[in-house]
Amino acid sequence: MKPLQYFVVLLFAGVLNLQAQNTIPVDSIYILRDLSRDKETYSPQQRLRFAKRSSELARQTGIDSIILNNNLDLAIEYLNLGDLNTYLKLNHKSLKLAIDSKSNRIISVASLNIGGYYGVRRNIDSAFYYLYKSLKYNNYNKAEDRHSVHLYLSYMEGSTGNYAESEYHSIKALKFIDELPETITLQHDKRDIYYYMASILRREGNYKMAIDYNNKSLIISKELKDKLSELHTLNNMAEVYRELDKYEEAISLYEEALYDESIKIEDPIFYAMLLVNKAYAQFQKGNNSNQNIISQLKLGYRINDTLDRDYEKLLLKSATSYYLSKVYQKSQQKDSSYKYAKEAYAIAKDIGENEILLDALLVLSELEDGDKGKAHLREHIRINDSLLQLERSNRDKFARIRYGTGQIETEKDKVEKERDWLYGISIGLISIAMLILVIIAQRYRNNKLQFAKDQQQANEEIYQLMITQQNKLEEGRHQERYRISEELHDGVLSKLFGVRLGLGFIDVKGQTQDDVDKYKAYMGQIQTLEKDIRILSHDLRQDGLSSKGSFNEIIHTFITKQCELHNFKSTFTTEDSINWSTIAEKTKVHIYRIIQESMHNVIKHAEATELSINFKKENEAILVLEISDNGKGFDAKVTHRGIGLKNVASRVKKLKGDFNIASIKEKGTTLRISIAV
């Protein structure tokens, strides 16, 4: 029993179902594609039409990946319809396009399909070429499809007698399958691999392992309730026992397989195969009469007789013929033995079954004496040698193909290494960039803080300068007043006094009474004038006292100046209990700026004619500043706060104070700020 029939079944049933994985939303293509996959609703012809239409649309998009995926879908439809030529053509087309557009996954899938096709057609060279090509790109394939190429390669390597490679690929395929979640399809594949490995191992003479794998195959087949596979496995196992000369076990296995007679209808050829195998095992065991065995074998032989040329049938026939020739040889019926051996030889040669061919030749050489026998033996040796030769050359050839793949793989490794390097360097660069960014951000923040600090300091300095300036001005004014006062007092007043006294002693007796009265009146006037000057002088000195601290003075000066400049009236009041000298300079700077900012607002927006600024104390610790105008007002809730008010708000916030605006349209605005001092 050859695994090739499985190969075909597998190829047709398990062709890779390509899922489109495109991001381009070409809806109609996808809809058509989905329709073409809907096996339940539509006939194969309908599906093919959908696939064709979809493929046509895909070609119009000009997007390679869509075209490729559609082509492969279309190919599968042709495969389902049995049009293998179109299937092959489409796959070739896809492969070419994929190579051009470097779609590695498609290369892998298309190559696999083509390789599989050639495998079925026994075009071994081409099959190997495409399968190894597919293997090259297998890493790009979807995880659930990666085992397929190994599966095929395992069959191919096995069929060329390269059992070690075949085993290698089987194991590889099993590994891929084991990495995936368990599905029925995968279980089937797994069972096939076990089954195939068992037959390979049997051929290699590793019977123990062969039995193991057959058992595994058997277990899965039973799980899957796959009767046919189970029977094939049993047959395979029986063959192992036969080769181990354990005919009892072999026969019991055959009987187990033959127990279910449904196989007789489902697969009569296989049923016949089991029968003849069992009969031959009994013959080998030697405890049954040859006649009985011959009748059984002939039964199998006759089943075949009626049927046409088909590999399986021919295989059965050649195997049966061989068995018969062996049995006849044993019972010394040389003619019959010769006849069947000849037939087995002819059919085996026809279908390329070298094993049977060689066995048949051996029988023939034993049957004939002299030159003829020798000729058969020579042919046996020649074929055996040529088979070995072929195997060896195949191995060499495929080794070369593999070597090419290996090279590609090293290149791939290199590319991967480079890619790793690139990743490493990129990550490094990104980390460095991030670090730099963080440092820059940190530095920026520090600068900002520093700037705020500097500004604060600058503000205080400006204020201090203003105070100093104010003090100097005050000092100068004071000195000047003092000087004038002194001058009035000591100079003017003294001289006036001298004049008055001097005048007083001038004899005015000769004058009329009227003149004397007038004279006295003027004297009185002068004395009054003296008093006036004295008061003036005194007041000039006293003036210094009236100033209640220079902060008030600064504010007052500022307000007065602004009002003069912008032509509106102002009142400035402050409660006596406010002691500016106990209030922090920083706070005063902010208050000054707030007043400045608010006045600026009033000047710019309010169109006011009157302004009042008022300081009072709410209790010991709260200082209240009210700035009111009689301008046009605004809606304090709606209006977007301008930069001016924002500045005021931020200053009040810095002073941890409260701040509210009451504004009545056309009546004016009052800004009220309370600060804890």
């Binding site: 000591d490 007043l493 003294s494 006094f497 006294l501 002693f505 210094g544």
Partner: protein
């Protein structure tokens, strides 16, 4: 019998000197038994020298006059004391432009002159009266001085010299921070004294102008 009286007029204003001369002339015209020998000085050094060199019986003394070159005599008060020391029998008539209570008090307590005239008050008649009074060995005080004395007698506050200085300088318009230059006290104790004074005058929580106003009212400045 004609009494010859040597008079020294100390004033830096020639007009005033002339006025006093006229007054003395007027007085001698009215009182024939008085005869005046008049000399004059316009600064401390000159005046001191004259008192030292010749007989002087009466001095018309201005308080605000140029000080002596050696810096020992700074005002009419110093000069008066120095002259009294030279001649204890010297009669002094102080005439001053200062009309504040502090200076009046100072002049009275330090110099204790025979007459104290505030220039504002001076009129020909009371100047003559002052002369007559002095020659009659009777002290003469002009109107302002008398008012001051009355105030002082009626109030019971006891202020020391520093309190008086403090009030005086404050009233002159000296700023609190500069007061330490004039008063031998620290800034803190000046503040404390101010508060104390306000307490004495029962004007707690008032500012300095109020303090000065009250002190003036009570006759301390």
């Amino acid at each position: 019998m004609i009494k010859t009286i040597h008079v020294l007029i100390v004033d830096d204003h020639p007009l005033i000197v002339e006025a006093y001369k006229n007054a003395l002339l007027y007085f001698s015209n009215q009182n024939k038994n008085f005869e005046f020998v008049i000399s004059k000085a316009s600064n401390c050094d000159d005046a001191y020298q004259k008192v030292k060199d010749k007989i002087i019986d009466l001095v018309f003394l201005d308080i605000k006059i140029p000080p002596s070159k050696d810096g020992k005599l700074l005002s009419g008060e110093d000069l008066g004391l120095a002259m009294k020391t030279l001649r204890p029998s010297l009669k002094i008539i102080v005439s001053t432009m200062f009309n504040n209570n502090f200076r009046i008090n100072n002049i009275l307590s330090v110099l204790n002159p025979e007459a104290l005239l505030i220039k504002d008050d001076i009129q020909p008649n009371n100047l003559l009266a002052a002369l007559a009074s002095v020659f009659d060995d009777m002290p003469y005080y002009s109107k302002t001085v008398l008012k001051f004395l009355r105030k002082r007698i009626t109030n019971t506050y006891v202020l020391d010299k520093n309190d008086m200085l403090l009030l005086y300088h404050l009233s002159k318009g000296v700023r609190t921070t500069d007061l330490t230059k004039y008063i031998p006290l620290s800034h803190g104790s000046i503040e404390r004294r101010k508060k104390q004074l306000k307490g004495v005058f029962l004007i707690d929580d008032c500012d300095d102008s109020e303090l000065i106003r009250v002190a003036e009212e009570k006759g301390f400045i």
